[in-house]
């Protein structure tokens, strides 16, 4: 008998479901070898209340985040109050203690029935894994990475647990599996653990080499996520923007316009949901760790971007047709096509987004007069930093017209100075010229792969596993929102669409290849090029591998979220990915998995990025074809 009715119907329609990877690999004789550590990402980890204001009576050790979210509906204001952090310090507000749930339950299911790690845990258990050799390094994802150590000792706990697991499992090194923001968190951890005691964990310079076999980053936003910009600037992401349009263009438009926009814009209920969400999420320092890093060098400038030749239709055809025929078509098509200006992450107005750079008139906003506060009595209770900015300030922002990755940070500093002051104490978004500069010993650089060196652990392996084939947000077209009083003054211009069918601009959002949240460029660049071989970011030559999983949607509704998904979170149930992880946990190396597995153009795009990767001396040596001190390196470089 099949276990469930769902499964029965699915099997009747699509034929027998393949064995889950755990079962399959047990038949091959794979067994437990390396202990496994999970590092959950932003939002997916549960948070529970340890101390609260009187309004949260009876919620002691109940989940505020994750689970059923019952409290959001029952007492939304109280909930938002407890989920916010202090605006000055980025730590707990007085009298409130909300802490991360510990153990595997912290992030196995986000909400009932919505798995995150559960499928992977179940498959690992088939190999014989259990609580003693699996560990969920849960942490409070709202606060900055260093603060998780200062407040909760999360990094110390992870260190102690890894040490314990390695020693109790016969000295087998740990396999680390971070997901999403957990990737950056673990980058921070690797620097922290080897740094000396007051600021770091004091593990000594070979801690990583001794304790870590492989880091298998799933959907890692190494270089940031453009989505976070929309989130910070106007608390909008594609999903919300679509809701707004849907309601306006609904068949029964009159009704729709009257009620549904009201839900979000809220004159009627005075709930001002977006502002509240924004007020809450702006107190979370961790969101600032995902701002695109590397500036114009990585993300492109006004006229250029690494992914400029990308078109979703080509990707689609590639999947169906044979490649030889396709290539000719591509060539002709590409020559006709206008190249996309992905580098312009935010443009005000659609015409600006398409205009050649010479025609854009920009007036610098930096240092512009912000004007006096426009906040009036009607919206005083909801506080966002926009209220401290006058019409003049908002105008100044719009008059700069186009923002690239480099100027975005300045924009955010202009629009939300307090938040960025807090954030820049903990995160940095640049590219290091000289990594040996002593200033890079500060913890604020540790989570930026472009400003740190990987640890000295030549036997370690770094994997980047991510989904591809889904449109992912990359740039936005903004407009003023209709009334500037109580509202967030900017909105995504959802009316902006591409004329031709395979355009990447839809509802005011430019999309590229990715896993719906992280663009391929951010997830893959470091492993494809930045760390490949012996570079200045990877001085010990840690081997890197890229494993892409092409998205294919579930065949029918009963399949749930699919076993072949490439979506940012659903990929955690992707059988291919789970199989790779199981093999590595059971002892396989990257080569044994089959090395790189690439569906997107990541290598081509990485080539276009002009980033100095070699130490200056080695670079010169290579330029002059002198025998390089490291023969392997030069051989590799020539081959490439």
């Amino acid at each position: 008998m099949p276990a469930s009715f769902n499964q029965f119907v699915t099997e009747a329609i699509t034929g027998p479901v393949p064995d889950p990877p755990g079962v399959k690999l047990v038949k091959e004789g794979l067994k437990v070898k390396h202990p496994v550590v999970f590092v959950p990402g932003i939002v997916t980890g549960g948070l529970e209340l340890w101390e609260g204001h009187p309004c949260a009576e009876g919620l002691f050790r109940k989940r505020l985040w994750g689970g059923t979210f019952g409290e959001v509906y029952k007492r939304p204001l109280c909930w938002a109050e407890h989920m916010s952090m202090d605006n000055e310090t980025g730590l707990d507000p007085p009298g409130i203690r909300v802490r991360a749930v510990t153990g595997l339950v912290a992030a196995d299911y986000f909400a009932p029935g919505y798995f995150v790690w559960a499928v992977m845990i179940a498959n690992l258990a088939r190999l014989g894994y259990e609580e003693k050799n699996m560990y969920m390094a849960s942490y409070d994802w709202r606060i900055s990475y260093q603060n998780t150590e200062v407040r909760d000792r999360s990094l110390s706990r992870m260190k102690s647990n890894i040490e314990l697991m390695v020693s109790t499992n016969g000295g087998n090194k740990a396999v680390i599996i971070p997901h999403s923001m957990g990737v950056l968190y673990f980058l921070h951890f690797m620097k922290w653990v080897e740094a000396p005691a007051p600021m770091g964990g004091g593990g000594g310079p070979d801690w990583c080499a001794k304790h870590i076999k492989a880091v298998m980053n799933i959907g890692g936003p190494f270089l940031g996520v453009p989505k976070s910009i929309a989130g910070l600037l106007s608390a909008e992401a594609k999903d919300i923007a679509v809701v707004r349009t849907m309601s306006a263009t609904h068949p029964c438009a009159s009704l729709g316009r009257a009620i549904t926009p009201g839900v979000l814009d809220n004159d009627i209920f005075r709930l001002q949901t977006l502002q509240r969400v924004m007020q809450m999420s702006r107190t979370w320092d961790s969101t600032m760790s995902m701002i695109p890093k590397g500036g114009d060098t990585i993300w492109g400038d006004l006229d250029w971007s690494p992914e400029e030749d990308y078109a979703p239709s080509i990707r689609k055809q590639k999947k169906i047709d044979t490649q030889v025929v396709n290539k000719d078509e591509n060539g002709s098509m590409a020559s006709q096509r206008k190249l996309k200006n992905y580098g312009r992450i935010i443009s005000f107005g659609k015409d600006v987004a398409f205009a050649p750079s010479s025609e854009i008139e920009r007036i610098d906003f930096r240092g512009a007069y912000k004007g006096c506060s426009v906040a009036n009595s009607t919206c005083r209770d909801v506080w966002t930093e926009y209220h401290e900015m006058g019409i003049e300030g908002i105008k100044a922002v719009a008059e700069y017209k186009v923002y690239t990755a480099g100027s975005l940070v300045d924009l955010l500093e202009f629009v939300a100075p307090k938040m960025m002051a807090r954030g820049s104490a903990h995160f940095s978004y640049g590219i290091a010229d000289n990594l040996d500069d002593p200033k890079y010993q500060h913890y604020k650089y540790w989570s930026n792969p472009l400003e740190t060196k990987l640890p000295n652990a030549p036997d370690m392996e770094i994997f980047s596993l991510y989904g591809s084939g889904l449109p992912t947000e990359r740039g936005y077209i903004y407009k003023f929102s209709s009334s500037a009083d109580c509202y967030i003054p900017f909105q995504i211009d959802t009316s902006a669409d591409d004329e031709d069918e395979d355009g990447c601009l839809q509802d005011g959002v430019y999309t590229v290849d990715g896993d719906q949240t992280v663009p391929v460029l951010s997830a893959g660049y470091m492993c494809a090029k930045g760390w490949r071989g012996k570079t200045r970011f990877n001085p010990s030559g840690i081997r890197t591998f890229i494993r892409e999983y092409d998205h294919s949607p579930p065949a029918n509704l009963l399949e749930g979220r699919g076993t072949l998904s490439g979506d940012h979170v659903d990929i955690m149930g992707n059988f291919g990915l789970i199989e790779d992880i199981l093999r590595v946990a059971a002892g396989a190396t990257g080569e044994e998995l089959g090395g790189d597995q690439v569906h997107s153009d990541i290598f081509k795009w990485s080539e276009k990025i002009k980033l100095q990767l070699l130490e200056l001396l080695t670079a010169i040596a290579f330029w002059w074809k002198w025998p390089s001190p490291d023969k392997c390196l030069s051989a590799w470089m020539l081959e490439d």
Binding site: F60, A125, L164, S167
Partner: protein, 706 residues
């Protein structure tokens, strides 16, 4: 599914019929034609017409009551009542007038300025920890990482045999049976609530949180309570984890020593840990001498089962406790239930006999502690005074009045509690000279004639292998003391005892320096180990340099008194001679007179419902008090007793002044003591000893070389 569909079909057919009957004009015409001839149909028609009229004036006629309507109405009514009740519930004041919820100790102490200081480690006891499934047989499909033990226990009812199969351990090794992995639930959720709404640690955790405790300085050392203590390390590395956690807590909380709060069996588990951690690696944790002194501030044992619990004897011997014996007396046939073929007790016995940890709770110290045929240290204990609660608290020394009451009862009846199992009520009271002096050795030597009876089904207990003859021989011996009990168990359950005695020992050491006591099987017996071995001067110096005024380690014994607790049993042979039956049974008909401690075949003494005072208090009162051979470094010990007060009203739930074994974890006085120590107070600062029972006198009567 099919039945629902059928039901809906029924519901739908009828209204359709009605509709055609009512409204189709053709039908009317047909009826009209026939009406000329037939009066009966005419009347029928008139009825119909009136019906349609009624329908027009909105009132629904009874015939129109369709099944669907009824359903809707019912749902509507249910919803309304539900909503109404919910409404009432919300209107209801949170605290009833007249019933004032007293302020929780955490809030009060926070106002007094107490804050989290020392990190706290909780060690749960027997049975209270949750267990979850990691790998199982096909019958347990879909239960992956669901709780088998603790929580809602739904699986017992859904698939009882599967459930039992997964909870039992391998009969030979005492570890997992092949293909089954059941593991302890980690984290605070492991034992905060045992079942939904039945708190274990939750109240204490909540109060600790009030003064600032949270995940970084509070840890629950969950372990698989079915295994022998050393096996929790071998299989799950539970002891290593505990060690690493304590070290981490110590370092991350600014080098503050840890307060450990074990409960029930967790107490002896932690004793085992204390020895394990300082023993060199292959067998121990390799923490080196001084590890305990360096990392532990105080061990606050709650309801400690140091010297064992007599209850386990009856559990092992016949899978009976007081409660079950009562039940049998009241409703014979329910439990015997050959009718239903359930054989509950036999199943329980089969499963619980595979759990090694049960053996750790057997009475330790033999006749020296628990008394011989003629006398026992806690005899002469008067039951009535327990019931009336006439004790005056004696903070120091004996209370004179107290002994007077005692002697008064002693004349009436001398209960020979030393005889833990006696066959027949008369035998339990006879002077020792009249008891047939059958040596247990003799019984053991007598060949066990195996009962080869293939008709006995799959339910397998070791009793099935015993012949009727040898069972009778067991009963002929009449009386067993704590020492001969072990022989008895070796006789009736040889395999279980063989397995378990590799892990536990129940004697008293003559010479603690004998190298054999380095073996782990002695570590959980306080009478065969040195408690936290002597700290060398160099280690002390090292600690002193780091923390000049760090106080030395302390041991507290916190337990409830004032509840009758099982101490010894009157047994009989069970009447049936069938196979698959437990041949012995508590004689529930054996009752003493009104003042007697004998009720339903069980002798009671003072205690907390599970652990007698003697077992809980002796080590702190005498065995470790001062510098004895069991406590060479002279660790300070304190006794804190809490007198049981039943909850005054139903609304109080399980009471805030309870002394019962588990309910004491919600006792406000106990919580306050734990909180004060956690916040930095020493044993003397919380008031030293607090004694209600006559534990001191009992201890005095125990003739143990110290």
């Amino acid at each position: 599914m099919a039945s629902i569909l059928r039901f809906r079909k029924l519901c739908y057919l009828e209204p359709v019929k009605f509709r055609t009957f009512d409204e189709s004009p053709e039908l009317y015409q047909k009826l009209d034609k026939k009406a000329d001839d037939n009066n009966v149909i005419l009347t029928a028609k008139s009825v119909l017409e009136t019906d349609t009229k009624k329908k027009k004036c909105t009132k629904k006629p009874s015939k129109e009551w369709r099944c669907v309507d009824t359903c809707c109405w019912m749902i509507g009514c249910l919803c309304t009542t539900w909503w109404f009740l919910l409404f009432l519930y919300h209107c209801f004041p949170a605290t009833l007038p007249g019933f004032q919820v007293p302020e929780s100790p955490g809030v009060r102490l926070k106002r007094d300025g107490l804050t989290a200081n020392h990190p706290v480690v909780l060690v749960p006891g027997f049975v209270t920890g949750g267990l979850e499934l990691w790998e199982g047989r096909p019958c347990a499909e879909g239960l992956f990482r669901k709780r088998l033990w603790g929580g809602s226990f739904t699986e017992i009812f859904k698939r009882p045999s599967c459930w039992l199969e997964h909870l039992s351990l391998d009969n030979e090794t005492g570890l997992d049976p092949p293909g089954i992995r059941v593991r302890p639930v980690p984290g605070l959720v492991a034992a905060d609530y045992f079942a939904t709404g039945y708190f274990v640690w939750a109240v204490l955790i909540e109060n600790l949180a009030k003064i600032g405790y949270e995940g970084k300085n509070l840890y629950m050392a969950a372990y698989d309570w079915r295994l022998s203590f050393q096996n929790t390390e071998i299989r799950d590395q539970a002891l290593s984890r505990l060690k690493s956690k304590i070290e981490l807590l110590y370092v991350t909380n600014g080098y503050k020593k840890v307060v450990v709060v074990p409960h029930s069996m967790g107490v002896i588990y932690f004793l085992h840990f204390l020895k394990w951690v300082e023993t060199p690696p292959p067998m121990g944790g390799g923490g080196g001498p001084g590890w305990c002194a360096k990392h532990i501030k105080a061990v606050m044992n709650i309801g400690p089962a140091f010297l064992g619990v007599p209850k386990t004897v009856s559990n092992l011997f016949s899978a009976e406790g007081k409660d079950i014996a009562y039940l049998r007396a009241m409703a014979p046939g329910v439990l015997d239930s050959e009718i239903l073929g359930l054989q509950t007790l036999e199943h329980v016995m089969r499963v619980s006999r595979t759990w090694d940890s049960v053996i750790s709770l057997m009475p330790k110290g033999g006749e020296t502690i628990w008394g011989n045929l003629d006398s026992s240290p806690d005899e002469g204990h008067a039951c009535q005074s327990v019931k009336k609660g006439q004790y005056a608290p004696t903070s120091n020394g004996m209370n004179a009045n107290h002994t007077d009451i005692k002697t008064g009862f002693q004349v009436k009846e001398t209960v020979k509690c030393g005889r833990i199992i006696s066959f027949g009520k008369a035998e339990s009271e006879l002077p020792s000279s009249q008891i047939p002096n059958l040596d247990t050795e003799e019984i053991l030597r007598s060949s066990i004639t195996k009962n080869v009876n293939s008709s006995c089904g799959e339910v397998w207990t070791e009793y099935d292998e015993m012949s009727r003859e040898s069972i009778r021989k067991v009963a002929e011996k009449k009386v067993y003391t704590a020492r001969t009990l072990l022989d008895l168990l070796r006789f009736v359950a040889p395999k279980m005892m063989q397995r378990a005695e590799a892990h536990f020992s129940h004697g008293i050491a003559d010479n603690l320096d004998d190298p054999k006591y380095a073996h782990y099987k002695y570590w959980s017996n306080p009478l065969e180990t040195k408690c936290c071995p002597e700290v060398t001067n160099s280690v002390k110096w090292d600690i002193c340099l780091r923390l000049p005024d760090a106080p030395d380690m302390e041991i507290h014994c916190l337990y409830g008194v004032g509840i009758p607790t099982e101490r010894s049993y009157v047994y009989k042979l069970s009447p049936t001679n069938k196979c698959k039956n437990i041949p012995f049974r508590i004689d529930a008909s054996a009752n003493g007179d009104e003042n007697s401690c004998l009720k339903g075949g069980v002798y009671f003494v003072d205690g907390d419902d599970s652990v007698p005072v003697l077992s809980a208090g002796f080590m702190c009162a005498k065995g470790w008090r001062g510098r004895t051979r069991f406590n060479p470094s002279g660790i300070a010990t304190y006794i804190r007793e809490y007198k049981h007060k039943p909850p005054t009203s139903l609304l109080e739930g399980r009471g805030i002044e309870s002394g019962a074994h588990v309910d004491i974890l919600g006792n406000v006085a106990l919580i306050e003591d734990v909180l004060r120590v956690a916040a930095g107070a020493s044993g003397a600062e919380i008031g030293g000893d607090q004694i209600y029972s006559d534990i001191r006198r009992m201890s005095e009567r125990i003739n143990l070389e110290l």
